[in-house]
């Protein structure tokens, strides 16, 4: 038993050591720094207690609430869109059709395109005058949009660009779907149920742990959105895409206010923790694990 523990720790040690050095250490450091006025260039750093947090919440820093609002709007749009779309695509890809492997490859392909490259592609596609998207709309005499360049459409546009990269989520759904035993569907067929009954009573309950997992990961990923603001919009127009992490980065690296940026980072951590907790709490009523009754 002791020997098992030793080898267990030994074999996981690369991951554990990596976690301690590259994640836990910096996290503790940033926790400490969030109570200081640390700026990289200053020679002395002093503890200022909760002042950073007070500045944040008191409304003195208008960008804090603005960036929170922008980010929540983005999350509210993106999470349902990603989950519904990737579940739908996974259902299609799970059907026994010719060329299934090719379709799966095509759907997954954008996920391996580097974020910057994909952002650049979208910048061209969504160009208001010359972009392919507006050109097609113009062809069909449909109303055009300024996409990334107007206050109203910037967030939906960014959501659209990120939907291109849902291949990873689709793959996880596919894994969940392929784990459903055939017999359940056969039972429904015997009882005379159609596709809706299969979906409603077999598929969704059976993949609910996967939906649960994907929802949490998508929420976390969406709250941490950064690349799109950094590459596509620089937070504009009129701060309508000033995502929280982009603002955090700007504070830390452009304004070199690392102490304050650390406080921002910890607030973000708490927010993510809170959302994850909420999803976990509600999960009891809609996630089914095999061999478990409904509670």
């Amino acid at each position: 038993m002791r020997k098992g523990l030793f080898y267990g720790l030994l074999f996981t040690s690369p991951a554990i050591i990596g976690f301690i050095i590259f994640t836990l250490g910096p996290m503790i450091a940033s926790m400490v720094l969030s109570f200081t006025d640390y700026s990289v260039f200053k020679d002395q750093t002093s503890f200022i207690g909760f002042d950073n947090y007070k500045t944040l919440f008191s409304g003195e820093d208008e960008f804090f609430y603005k960036s929170l609002g922008v980010t929540f709007y983005f999350v509210a749009l993106r999470v349902p869109a990603v989950i519904l779309l990737s579940f739908f695509i996974a259902l299609l890809l799970n059907m026994n059709v010719k060329g299934r492997a090719i379709f799966r490859t095509i759907i997954y392909l954008p996920s391996i395109v580097p974020a910057v490259a994909s952002a650049m592609i979208w910048m061209w596609l969504l160009n208001p005058d010359l972009g392919l998207v507006n050109s097609v709309l113009r062809w069909f005499h449909l109303p055009e949009s300024d996409w990334l360049y107007s206050e109203q459409s910037v967030i939906p546009s960014v959501v659209l660009t990120t939907l291109w990269g849902i291949g990873g989520t689709v793959i996880i759904f596919l894994a969940g779907l392929s784990g459903i035993p055939r017999q359940y569907y056969e039972a429904i067929e015997v009882d005379g149920g159609g596709w809706y009954s299969k979906l409603r009573h077999i598929t969704i309950p059976m993949v609910s742990p996967t939906i649960f997992f994907n929802t949490i990961m998508t929420i976390i990923g969406s709250i941490q959105v950064f690349n799109e603001a950094y590459i596509l919009t620089q937070g504009g127009p009129n701060n309508k895409s000033l995502f929280y992490v982009f603002y955090l980065w700007r504070t830390g690296f452009r304004d070199t206010e690392m102490g304050y940026a650390s406080a921002l980072a910890w607030v973000l951590f708490i927010i993510i923790l809170f959302f994850t907790f909420i999803v976990f709490r509600t999960s009891k009523s809609w996630v089914y694990y095999e061999g478990e009754g409904r509670t």
Binding site: P14, F41, D43, Y149, S150, N238, R254
Partner: protein, 472 residues
């Protein structure tokens, strides 16, 4: 049993490997780009016997911009055999990299710096030598030997950086477009510069819709413009020219109050916005996304005139069409804003004297003659503008320096130039964080300049922290 042991041994070896790699990470110094380390260190001239010292220099820039530095270093090392220069070319994320180096106490002796980003935050913490001390005693290079507005000061008398050369704004245009339409091209002399109204009138005649009607004619279709009269970028560097020309500023003379909501600045901003939204002669920020870089835009006649920095000359020279340079239109007085990078010497350098010599060598125009001829740079030394022979070296018979260049760029720089706001407005970035979103609405024609600036004046005022060019 033995199999298990073997696996354990392999894992322990892997652990060792990981720790070695990690410890190597913490103390790795990249020296990419340093080709100048020659074998000439053992020569026996006057410097022999002195201890060999190493100077570290960090720069950014495209490869062809780094090439002159390498030449300078090679020459410098040949002349100072006891000095070895380690050039570190940081091509991307320069500020982040330098910030990290500062945090890790791994600072270069000399760094190329940018006034709009981390130069002043560093200087405020006393991280740079006061170059005034060197300028005051140096016989070769001092303030009068340099062109105006290329030194940056933390406060009067404390110079934190010197630019390798100025960059100014001018009006670039396609000569053929003017010929075809029979319109007199922009003047190049500041004394003959267009007034704003003349400028607008010409820009209207140059703006053509898809039916060939220009912006002065009835039935002109501003929704389908084929050729814009003008491309006027909407970033601060661009509009600062006209705010200064109109007698305005970003902050007041005493540095105490926000000034972009004052009549002079508001008028300049509004007139610029009117070019977009009232006269339809310049693309809006949204439409500007379709306008290619200045050289292509002018060559393809997507625009007839473009306001851009003189650095555009280089790409224009390589494009095969007749471009020329005119002086910027004038609101109240001719004016151009000088924007430039700078070289600073870190306080932590153990060899400030040698570092100063290297800075001088880097700024010396002869060393970067290729970049001067190409059109990308302008020299820092005043005699390269005033001495006919030296001036000819980088302005005569070159594609990058068309006929209007001397009047529209050189004369304006020497007589009508203004320092970049990043060089004297304290807390510039934070002020602009408040201003830029409001200006977005002005460029899109949703608010007047007065409304937009008034609406954020109070918030911007909170960020006003004074000026660097006056004693506070």
């Amino acid at each position: 049993m033995t199999g298990q042991k073997k696996i354990a041994t392999v894992f322990i070896l892997m652990l060792f490997l990981i720790t070695t790699v990690l410890s190597a990470c913490s103390k790795s110094e990249s020296t990419n780009g340093n080709e100048a380390a020659g074998g000439a260190a053992s020569s026996a001239d006057g410097n022999a016997g002195k201890e060999t010292i190493t100077l570290r220099l960090t720069v950014w820039g495209a490869p062809e911009e780094v090439e002159p530095y390498k030449n300078v270093i090679q020459k410098f090392e040949a002349e100072h055999t006891n000095i070895k220069v380690e050039l570190q070319h940081i091509a991307a994320d320069y500020d982040t990299k330098l910030t990290t180096m500062v945090a890790g106490n791994d600072v270069p002796d000399i760094a190329m710096m940018e006034s709009g980003s981390i130069a002043y935050p560093l200087a405020e913490q006393g991280k740079f030598y006061n170059l005034q001390d060197f300028l005051a005693t140096d016989s070769d290079m001092n303030e009068s030997s340099l062109v105006p507005n290329i030194t940056y000061s933390l406060e009067p008398g404390n110079v934190i950086g010197i630019a390798p050369g100025p960059e100014t704004f001018a009006l670039f245009y396609n000569e053929d477009v003017f010929k075809e339409l029979g319109i007199e091209p922009p003047p190049s002399k500041a004394s003959e510069a267009w007034s704003w109204d003349q400028f607008v009138e010409v820009a209207k005649q140059l703006t053509l819709d898809k039916n060939g009607k220009n912006a002065t004619e009835d039935g002109f279709d501003p929704k389908n413009i084929k050729q814009y009269g003008l491309n006027l970028p909407t970033w601060w560097g661009s509009y600062s020219n006209f705010i200064y020309s109109n007698g305005g500023d970003f902050v007041s003379q005493d540095g105490q109050s926000f000034a972009l909501n004052q009549p002079e600045a508001v008028e300049a901003l509004q007139k610029m916005a009117d070019l977009i939204n009232v006269h339809h002669v310049s693309p809006s920020p949204v439409q500007a996304k379709n306008i290619p870089s200045t050289n292509v835009a002018l060559q393809t006649k997507k625009v007839a005139m473009a306001i851009d920095g003189q650095w555009a000359s280089s790409a224009l020279a390589q494009s095969n069409f007749n471009f020329n340079i005119g002086v910027l239109p004038v609101m109240k007085q001719p004016m151009t804003t000088v924007v430039c990078a700078m070289f600073s010497i870190f306080k932590s350098s153990k060899h400030p004297e040698e570092a100063w010599e290297l800075v001088k060598a880097l700024i010396e125009p002869e060393a970067s003659i290729d970049m001067l001829k190409a059109g990308t740079w302008m020299p820092a030394a005043r005699d390269w503008y005033t001495d006919e022979a030296l001036l000819a070296k980088w302005t005569e018979g070159l594609a990058s320096r068309p006929s209007g260049y001397k009047d529209a760029v050189i004369d304006v720089l020497l007589n009508h130039s203004h320092q970049t706001p990043t060089g004297y407005v304290k807390n510039f970035n934070k002020i602009m964080d408040v201003v830029n979103p409001a200006l977005d609405k002005v460029w899109l024609g949703k608010e007047s300049a007065q409304e937009a600036m008034d609406s954020i004046a109070a918030k911007a005022q909170e960020q006003v922290k004074g000026r660097r060019d006056i004693a506070n």
